[in-house]
Symmetry: C2
Subunit: 306 residues, 2 copies
């Protein structure tokens, strides 16, 4: 046996419509037409993909490369505005990644508390949830249950929960999501300290912090950093920190220097096929398709455009 | 604001008995006596902790330090026996970590397929589930729902699922769990290729691979490695691999060289308090306790003994 490996070669999928599912338990699924995830993506029509708005896209340039983040102004408009303002006044340039806590978050900002904020706001009213009203755009239900919320799915490229009882919706702390740190006061965050989830989804933070976006590219630059050995995973010595060369809004970057990528629309037929493919893996390696999928186990595909 | 951070300072917990919960939706919990996680652990009686059996404990020594793994012979007895045999014949010594796939697994073994297996078995009958019979020891139910299984909780220090309909039980692919790679044939694994989960729990693999144990210490040495850029996260160049200095069974190591740790018993009152603390975070930072917890978000505490 030369390579007994845990195969992650793309599997076969059921191309079936997603049905909202009130029973959270897995159930058997009858095999139908199947195809692999790369095939799903390769055969997708152009209109199922979108170019992220350069005004909502951030580049964080590290010595190791570029992290591309898409903001979520639909869910955190005040934070999105303030983070753009902070980025544009050069707030993050020369600051650093100061905290990497294993199976939790990588966090960056002003570790020494010496950087002055210019025109951006120092505090913001919290944006932990938003009203479930008409201007949210399409919601694609996951079609499987959830431990933390009554209903989960995807809106505008992000994993979200909905609660029709409280008429509210919120972003979810899945791997790669970016949030704004705060002190104990719910209104103390301003986007000047940001974190990205690098471990098992800490869903207990949902509705307790403002999620502001998602890492589209360069996640491995944040997840593979040495873990901090101080309390909460902070680096104990300033020289251990990873410097932020600069952060920019993509719209402010000359076209030739932009990272050209597309994101699969979460309200597209192709994305619904991706969900089904992840709910029931049917390639030769898998013997027992799960029949259910965790909302944080559905990838939201990103592709490079050349 | 000097340190607007995402607090992970331990919270307050409800010291209540865990009740099996058939409704998977979060529900309000009335505050009762509360305490923090460090307080729960500090005030725990000695009998709530156990020393892992040195015969079931593996040390994987890397240039960066030691990874301590506890085998799960209750769930994968054939794999545990074979891995001990492989370790004792020096099979892993000088082999390497060959694959690090972001948000998935770190895998080690014989990347070049040149290492001969001596007295250990080359193939094993699969151990993906085991019968739900009498000799399993205590089961501590999580008391919250699960997306992938009808009932989840903890047995003998590991996260597990139970299905009374099929009368079976199995280990769960939570962060830090260790499994045996295999080819497409379900009986092709032998423990000579091992992987550890380094991202969001890939629960779709449950019942599709033999989980063999859990990383008790040194997880950060596996999770912070550079991601491989080849297919499936394999390192493309041999020089990128991380060498395994040696693997040993703790029982074969002189007492003075052993890593002395204790693990909280998952059938103890203290562990039930930990579950409740994680289900409803009540320190000053958290404003909305979740009322539910994912089985993979409950830490199984390990402490150093000096």
């Amino acid at each position: 046996m030369t390579h007994p490996l845990l195969s992650r070669v793309p599997a076969f999928a059921i191309l079936a419509a997603v049905a909202a599912c009130s029973d959270l338990r897995p159930k058997p699924v009858a095999p139908q037409a199947v195809t692999s995830l790369p095939e799903i993506l390769e055969n997708s029509p152009a209109q199922d993909w979108r170019t992220p708005d350069p005004g909502d896209t951030l580049y964080m340039d590290l010595p190791s490369g570029r992290v591309v983040i898409e903001l979520a102004p639909l869910y955190a408009p005040r934070h999105a505005d303030n983070i753009r303002a902070l980025v544009r006044e050069g707030y993050f340039d020369g600051l650093a990644i100061e905290r990497v806590q294993d199976n939790f978050v990588t966090q960056w900002g002003d570790a020494d508390g010496k950087r002055a904020i210019g025109s951006a706001s120092r505090t913001l009213a919290s944006e932990f949830t938003r009203p479930l009203d008409g201007d949210l755009g399409a919601f694609t239900p996951l079609g499987s249950g959830d431990v933390y919320a009554p209903l989960v799915g995807f809106t505008a490229g992000f994993p979200v929960a909905r609660d029709t009882r409280t008429k509210s919706t919120w972003l979810l702390h899945c791997y790669g999501m970016v949030g704004a740190g705060r002190d104990n006061d719910v209104n103390s965050g301003n986007g000047a300290e940001l974190y990205a989830v690098i471990g098992h989804a800490p869903r207990q933070i949902d509705r307790n912090a403002a999620l502001v976006g998602r890492v589209l590219q360069g996640m491995e630059l944040l997840s593979s950093l040495p873990r901090g050995t101080g309390a909460l995973g902070f680096y104990e010595k300033p020289e251990q920190r990873i410097p932020i060369v600069r952060m920019r809004v993509a719209a402010d970057v000359p076209a030739a220097e932009r990272t050209t990528i597309e994101v699969l629309r979460t309200d597209s037929p192709t994305f619904r096929a991706v969900i089904e493919q992840r709910r029931n893996r049917r390639d030769a390696w898998y013997k027992v398709p799960a029949g259910a999928v965790d909302v944080c186990n559905v990838p939201i595909p990103v592709r490079a455009i050349h």
